[in-house]
Amino acid sequence: MADVIPIGRGQYRVIDGTRQRTAYAAGPPEARWVFLDGRVYVIDVRSGTDVARTGPAGTREGGRTPDEDLALSAPMPATVAAINVAPGQLVEPGDLLIVLEAMKMELPVRAPRAGRVKAVACRPGELVQPGIPLVELE
C-alpha cells in the first residue's frame, strides 16, 4: 500500500517506493473530494466508496432535495425553450421532457424513470428558478 504524506495545504504526496504522485484533498469526511492523476473522486471516508457514483444523486448536492425533484428541475435560472410532453403522456427513462436555455446553453430535462406525466408546471418562454420541479411524474 502506498504511503501518503501531507506536503502543503490540501496537498499530499502518494509514495510507493521511489515512485510518487501528487494528490489533493478537501471537504468533510462524508464527502471528501480527492484529485489524483487528473481524476476527481468524492469519497465517503467511512466506507471508502465514491459518493458521486454510488450514493443517491441528491446527497451530492447536500441531501436537501429528493433525487427526482432535482432531476426534474432547472439546474440554474433558465428560460423554458421547449416542452416535449403533455399531462397523461407515458415516458421512458431518459426521454427528453423539457429543453431549457440559459447563458446560451441548452439544458435538457430528461425523465429519471418511467412513468406518466401528471402535470407540467411551466410555460414556454417562462423564466424558471432552480430547485422547483418543472414536470410532475406519477
Binding site: G38, G62, A82
Partner: protein
C-alpha cells in the same frame, strides 16, 4: 488613450480585460451583482461598483444599471466582454448616446450582423460562399417543402431567428419533411415567439473553422488567421485550436480573404469573428459562411498565442482611435495553440451545470501554458451565471506538444468542491481522432460513450488512502492549517 474603462462583464473575461487595462495604465472599473461581491474580477479591478441583485437581467444585462455605474465613476469607455450585452446594438447605441466609447463595432454593424438574414445577404453580396438555403417568403408547409427539395437532401429545417439548436430538425429524405416542418414551426413559435422557418442544405460532419478579423478607424482591416472549433457538445465549443489541422496555406488565404471582404462590406471596426463551416480539408475544401460574431470570442487566446497579438489590447487601442500597428503581411502564425474550456458541469450527467464552493482550486503554472481564470480558491461557482471556470491554453511548436502540455496542465489542475469537465477534457485530448486531428462538429457526441468509459470506475486505493489520510492527519500535520473545511458555510446561492 482612455483614462478608465468600465468592464460590463464578470468571470474570466472581466479578469482578462482588467489585466489588459493594467498593462496599458488604464483604470479598470468592475461592476458586480450581489452574487459576485467577492468574485475575482471585483477583487482585481481598481474600482468596483455594485449594479444590482444576482439575476443577470437586473445586473449584467441591465444597460441602464451599467451606464449609471459608468456615470458615477467617470468611465470613458465600456468593454462588454462576450455574452451579456456584448452583441446588443441597443446597448452600443446607448453608450454612444451617453458619450462613452463602446469597445466593439458600431451599433449599426452589430444590428446588421446580428440578423442571420441580413448577414447572409451581405455575405452573398461580398462574394462570400454561403450554405445553400432559403427563408421562403411564403411560409406554408408545402412552399417550404418545395424549397427544401430544390436544395437536395439531407436538409436542415430551423427557426429563422433564435439559436442554441432549438427547433432545428435534420431531414434525411423527402418522406419525413412535412412532419419535421410542422414540429420545427411549433418549437420555434414556443421558444422564440416566431414560427418563421429557414431551410438549408445539411453539410455532413463539417468542421467549424472561424477567421479572426480586426479593423481600425482608418480603413485598415486584417485577419489573424483561423481557429478550429469543431469540438462542441450541445452546440457549444469546448476545445479550440489554431491553426486548424485541416487548413492549408492556400485555403487559409482564401478564407482570410473572404472574411476581410465581408468585414469590409459591413463597415466593420474592432475585433470580430467570421464563422465558417468547412467541408473537407486541404486546398480543395469548401467553406460556407455561418455567422459573424461582433465581439471578442471566448477562444481568442489561441489566436493570441499563435500570432503574438494581444487582441484585448488591440480592441482598446482601436476603440481609442489608434491605428492597427501591423499590416496583413506582417502577421504570422507560429506553432500551435489548444484551448480547453473548463466548465463546472458533469459529463456523466448530461453535462448538467454544477454550482458549488471551490474548496481547493490551484491553477497550473508551467511554460507554454496560460490559464484565463475567473475564480479563486475559497470562492464559488454560482448558479446564476455561465458555469465556465477557466480556459486553459497550451502552446507548443507542434500540435502534439501543445496537446501534451494541455494534458500535463489538466493533470496538475485540482478543482475540488464542484464537479468539472476536466477529466472529460483529458479523455478527449487522448482520443485517437483528436490526436490525428480528424475533427468534426459531431465528434464529441459520437464518441461520448468512449470518452465517458474512461471516467468510470471506483476510486483507486491511493485516492481512498488520500481521503482517509486527509481526514485523520490534515489538521495535525499541515503547517498551513487544515484543508478540511465545512463546505456548507460557503453555500451562498447554493440550490436546494
Amino acid at each position: 488613450m482612455f483614462r478608465s474603462i468600465l468592464i460590463a462583464n464578470r468571470g474570466e473575461i472581466a479578469v482578462r480585460v482588467i489585466r489588459a487595462c493594467r498593462e496599458l495604465g488604464i483604470e479598470s472599473i468592475a461592476v458586480y451583482s450581489d452574487a459576485d461581491d467577492r468574485a475575482l474580477h471585483v477583487a482585481l479591478a481598481d474600482r468596483a461598483v455594485r449594479i444590482g441583485p444576482a439575476p443577470a437581467a437586473q445586473s449584467y444585462l441591465s444597460g441602464e444599471a451599467i451606464l449609471q455605474a459608468a456615470r458615477e465613476t467617470g468611465a470613458e469607455a465600456i468593454h462588454p466582454g462576450y455574452g451579456f450585452l456584448a452583441e446588443s446594438h441597443a446597448f452600443a447605441a446607448s453608450c454612444a448616446g451617453a458619450g462613452l466609447a463602446f469597445i466593439g463595432p458600431p451599433s449599426g454593424v452589430i444590428a446588421r450582423m446580428g440578423s442571420k438574414t441580413a448577414a447572409r445577404a451581405l455575405a452573398e453580396q461580398a462574394g462570400v460562399p454561403v450554405v445553400p438555403g432559403a427563408t421562403p417568403s411564403d411560409q406554408r408547409d408545402e412552399t417550404i417543402a418545395a424549397a427544401a427539395c430544390r436544395l437536395g437532401f439531407p436538409v436542415v429545417v430551423k427557426p429563422s431567428e433564435g439559436g442554441g439548436g432549438i427547433g432545428m430538425k435534420t431531414v434525411p429524405e423527402e418522406a419525413s419533411l412535412l412532419p419535421a416542418i410542422a414540429q420545427a414551426r411549433r418549437e420555434a413559435a414556443a421558444a422564440f415567439g416566431d414560427g418563421t422557418l429557414y431551410v438549408e442544405r445539411l453539410i455532413d460532419r463539417p468542421r467549424h473553422v472561424e477567421i479572426q478579423v480586426v479593423g481600425d478607424h482608418h480603413g485598415r482591416i486584417v485577419h489573424l488567421f483561423e481557429r478550429e472549433c469543431s469540438l462542441q457538445r450541445r452546440h457549444q465549443k469546448i476545445v479550440e485550436e489554431a491553426p486548424s489541422p485541416a487548413v492549408t496555406p492556400a485555403l487559409r488565404a482564401r478564407m482570410g480573404g473572404a472574411a476581410v471582404a465581408l468585414a469590409r462590406a459591413a463597415g466593420y471596426r474592432n475585433c470580430g469573428t467570421v464563422e465558417f463551416l468547412l467541408d473537407g480539408s486541404g486546398d480543395e475544401a469548401r467553406f460556407y459562411f455561418l455567422e459573424m460574431n461582433t465581439r471578442l470570442q471566448v477562444e481568442h487566446p489561441v489566436t493570441e498565442q499563435t500570432t503574438g497579438v494581444d487582441l484585448v489590447r488591440t480592441q482598446i487601442v482601436v476603440a481609442a482611435g489608434g491605428p492597427l500597428p501591423w499590416t496583413q503581411d506582417e502577421l504570422r502564425q507560429r506553432g500551435h495553440a489548444i484551448e480547453v474550456r473548463v466548465y463546472a458541469e458533469d459529463p456523466e450527467r448530461h453535462d448538467l451545470p454544477q454550482a458549488g464552493p471551490l474548496l481547493l482550486y490551484r491553477e497550473p503554472s508551467m511554460p507554454g501554458v496560460r490559464v484565463d481564470g475567473g475564480v479563486a480558491e475559497g470562492g464559488d461557482v454560482s448558479v446564476h451565471y455561465d458555469p465556465l471556470v477557466a480556459k486553459l491554453i497550451a502552446w507548443g511548436d507542434t500540435r502534439d506538444l501543445a496537446r501534451r502540455r494541455a494534458l500535463a496542465a489538466l493533470r496538475s489542475y485540482p478543482i475540488l468542491g464542484v464537479r468539472t469537465n476536466g477529466p472529460f477534457l483529458i479523455a478527449l485530448l487522448e482520443h485517437p481522432r483528436f490526436i490525428a486531428g480528424q475533427l468534426d462538429t459531431g465528434l464529441v457526441e459520437a464518441e461520448r460513450p468512449v470518452l465517458l468509459a474512461g471516467l468510470a470506475g471506483a476510486p483507486p486505493p491511493e485516492a481512498v488512502a488520500v481521503a482517509r489520510h486527509a481526514s485523520v492527519d490534515a489538521a495535525a500535520h499541515d503547517p498551513n492549517g487544515p484543508a478540511v473545511i465545512d463546505p456548507w458555510t460557503l453555500l451562498r446561492g447554493w440550490r436546494g
